[in-house]
Symmetry: C2
Subunit: 145 residues, 2 copies
Amino acid sequence: MATDELDDEITTLLHQEDQRYTKGRRALVATLRAEGQPVTIPQILDASDGLAQSSVYRNLVVLEEAGVVTRIVTNDDFARYELAEQFTHHHHHLICSSCGDVIDFSLDDQAEAGLDEALNEIAEQVGFTVEAHRLDLVGTCADCD
Amino acid sequence: MATDELDDEITTLLHQEDQRYTKGRRALVATLRAEGQPVTIPQILDASDGLAQSSVYRNLVVLEEAGVVTRIVTNDDFARYELAEQFTHHHHHLICSSCGDVIDFSLDDQAEAGLDEALNEIAEQVGFTVEAHRLDLVGTCADCD
DNA sequence: AATCAGAATGAGAATTGTTTTCAACAGCTA
DNA sequence: TAGCTGTTGAAAACAATTCTCATTCTGATT
């Protein structure tokens, strides 16, 4: 997605929540975009200097509420953030139980469709309204093996 | 699984880690077993009186390392614990984004097998050694709708 | 049974990722 | 420019979790 287009959509999303797309928030989005993988707050602070820690935490909450970014929690010490799927594509996570790193991956369309169908069936049975599904593979990444 | 059998297996798992199956740990397992659903530490403390908070935290770590219990992290404030799958059965979680509650569910065998296959393929491609997969449905539970 | 060494416990202190506070600042509107 | 409102940065506050340490328990050995 082009940067302008992305910025336009984010502006819209934020305005829906009566929030502005400020310089600090732009910097956050730029960082997440440049990384292309889920990153921790310390990583964000390192990668983009000049951002105050409190503002990063606060703005990530704002951006998450607006649906711009997604928060990923693992057993690791830090939460991770990445751009929301609407700005990237539907995907899942490989979580390394050794180093804590999180890597994106996608299922092929057929497997994804089959999974979706099975999940919708289940949800209907128990009266659960589905917002999203999360599929993680936990194990050891190539680096840690 | 019968209580005795369960206790035997847990004793073995703990001994492999040079740990004892003490009274406090038995109480934890009993509580998790009685609940049958993932529970938070506060819930455990409420449900089984007499347990010290520090011991509960400590023992859950020990039990997790031994593979007796599984820790579940969500966006909720508290981590949740349940008996490991080897003592129950393979299952997944419905996570209510409103109240934070976590409910177990299972996929039918066919869907599960298809998912497994797709995941193993992916893992092989990226050189990832799979320990487990986690599948969560995030949404709103029947109570919160 | 008595002893002894190491492990486990309980109460509270310490740690640490995250949230909140609040005074100063920026951006918009008139 | 003046005034209002939302945002920022630094530091304090918060809270789930972990650690400390003195005491108690366990269980192997005599």
